[in-house]
C-alpha cells in the first residue's frame, strides 16, 4: 500500500451527455478493453465491532449501470456512501477516474472535494432544499462549486428540468411538488454538476409505486445516454432490465455479481437464490 493519498494525473475527464450519447452510439467502443471508472480495493467499514463492509473489491466501467440488491443491513447503502465519502471508509482504496483515496489515511478537504466533483448522488429522501425554488435548488451548486454565472447556471438548470419533465415547476418550492417530482428534481440537481458517475441510494423506496415509475423512467433514460450509474434498489425489474450488471450483497460482502439477466434469472449462489425467492414470493 503506498503512502500517497491522492494521485491526480491530468485534468478531470468530464463527459457531457452529448459525448456520452456519442459513445453509446458507437458500439465498437463498448467492446474495447477500457479502464474502470470506479475501482474499490478491499474497502471496509466498521461501526465499533460491527463490520458493515468486509473488504469489498469492485470495478465499474464507464457507461456501466450497476444495480446493488440485497437484504436490509447488508451494507449496500453504506458501500454507496463510502464511494463519495459521505461515510469515510476505514480501510482500502477508492479510485474514481484519476483520483485515488486511501481510506487508512484521513482525507483532506481538497481531496474530498476533488473526489466528490466527479460523483453525483440521489438520496432516498430526496433532500431538496425546502426554502429555495426548484430552479435555485438545481442552480445553487453550479454557481458555488463550478463558478458558473447565475444566468449560465439557470440556463443549464432549465435544460435539465426540461429533461426530467419539470420545466414548469422551476419557480415552485419543492414542498409543492409530489415525491416523484421531487426525486426527479434531485436527479437534475445532481446532474447539473456534470458528474462522471451517479449514485442512487434507494431512489424509489420513499415513493408509492406509481410515482416510483416516473423516477425509474428518468433513470432509464439517463442509463441510455451512457451515464455510469450505481443504483442501490429494491426494484427488481430495474435491476433485471435496465442495469448491465447486478451485484448481490449480504453481511457486508459481495455474494454474487454478473450480467444482470444471468444473476436475476439464473443465480449461482444459495444466498442469492434465497433472497430472490423471498422477493418474488411477496
Amino acid at each position: 500500500m503506498d503512502g500517497a493519498v491522492l494521485h491526480m494525473r491530468g485534468g478531470k475527464p468530464t463527459m457531457t451527455e452529448d459525448d456520452a450519447l456519442a459513445a453509446k452510439g458507437a458500439p465498437s467502443e463498448k467492446g474495447q478493453a477500457r479502464k474502470p471508472l470506479i475501482k474499490l480495493d478491499k474497502l471496509s467499514k466498521h461501526y465499533g465491532n460491527h463490520t458493515v463492509l468486509d473488504g469489498i473489491d469492485l470495478e465499474v466501467m464507464p457507461g456501466e449501470v450497476l444495480a446493488i440488491i440485497g437484504p436490509s443491513g447488508s451494507g449496500k447503502s453504506t458501500l454507496l456512501r463510502c464511494i463519495n465519502y459521505l461515510e469515510p471508509p476505514d480501510g482500502g482504496h477508492v479510485t474514481i477516474g484519476d483520483i485515488s483515496l486511501n481510506a487508512a489515511a484521513p482525507a483532506g478537504r481538497s481531496e474530498l472535494s476533488t473526489l466528490r466533483r466527479s460523483v453525483g448522488m440521489v438520496f432516498q429522501s430526496f433532500n431538496l432544499f425546502p426554502h429555495m425554488t426548484v430552479l435555485r435548488n438545481v442552480s445553487l451548486a453550479q454557481e458555488r462549486v463550478l463558478g458558473r454565472s447565475r444566468k449560465n447556471a439557470d440556463d443549464r438548470s432549465m435544460q435539465l428540468l426540461s429533461r426530467v419533465g419539470l420545466a414548469d415547476k422551476a419557480e415552485q418550492f419543492p414542498g409543492r411538488c409530489s415525491g416523484g417530482q421531487q426525486q426527479r428534481i434531485a436527479i437534475a440537481r445532481a446532474l447539473a454538476l456534470d458528474p462522471d458517475v451517479m449514485l442512487f441510494d434507494e431512489p424509489t423506496s420513499a415513493l408509492d409505486p406509481e410515482l416510483g415509475l416516473e423516477v425509474l423512467a428518468v433513470m432509464r433514460e439517463l442509463a441510455e445516454t451512457g451515464m455510469t450509474m450505481i443504483v442501490v434498489t429494491h426494484e427488481m425489474s430495474f435491476a433485471e432490465n435496465v442495469s448491465d450488471t447486478v451485484m448481490i450483497m449480504a453481511d457486508g460482502k459481495i455474494i454474487e455479481k454478473g450480467p444482470s439477466q444471468d444473476v436475476m434469472r439464473n443465480p449461482q449462489q444459495e444466498r442469492t437464490k434465497r433472497f430472490l425467492r423471498a422477493v418474488h414470493d411477496r
Binding site: 466533483r117 432544499f129 418550492f173 414542498g175
Partner: protein, 214 residues
Amino acid sequence: MSTADIFAILRGLPWTVALTLGAFLAGAILGIPLVAARQSRILPLRLAAMVFIQIVRGIPPILWLFIIFFGLGMSVFPISPFNAALAGLGLIAAANMAEIYRGALASIHFGQWEASSALNLGRWSTLTDVVAPQAFRVALPSAASYLIGLMKETAVASTIGVSELAFQGNQLSQLTFRGLEVFALVGMFYILLSLPVAWLSRVADGYLQAKVAR
C-alpha cells in the same frame, strides 16, 4: 390619574424600548459566534462556550446588573446605569439566543447537510445558503417570544437607577400613593409594547410558511 401622570410614566418608555432592542440586538449578534463555539469541533472552545452559557444563564439577571454596575462599575471602570444594564442584559440575551440558535440548528434534518456535502458545497455555503436560512425560520417564534420576555426583564434595570417604565412607575407611586393605578398603567404599557412584536412574529412566520408551503 392626570394626563401629567401618564406622561410621567411615558418618559420611561424610550429607555425600556432602547434597552430591549439594544440588548436583543447585541444578543442576536453575539449569539452567533457563541453558538459556533458551542458547536465547534475544538473541544476547549466548545467547553468554554458551554461553561460561559451555563454561568450567564445560571445567575439571576438582577445579580448580573449588580455585578456590573456596583461591582465592576465602582471598582474597575466607571459605567452609567444604562450601559451597565445594556451590557448585562445583552450578555444574558447572547447566551439565550445561542441556545435558541442551537435548537434551531439541531432541527435541521441531517439530509440537508448530506445533500450539501454530496453537492460539494463548501462549509460556508452549506451554512449560509442551506442551513442558516432554514434555522432562522425555526428560530423566529422562539426568538420573538424571547424578545417579549426580555422586554419585561428590562424592568430590573430600575434597580440600578435606569429611568425606564418600572422606575418611573415606582417614582410616581411614591409621589401619589396611588400604587395600584400607577402600576396597572405601567403593566398596560408593557402589554402594549409586546403586541407589535407578537404580531410581527406571526406575520413573518406565516409569510415564510406560505412561501415554503410545508
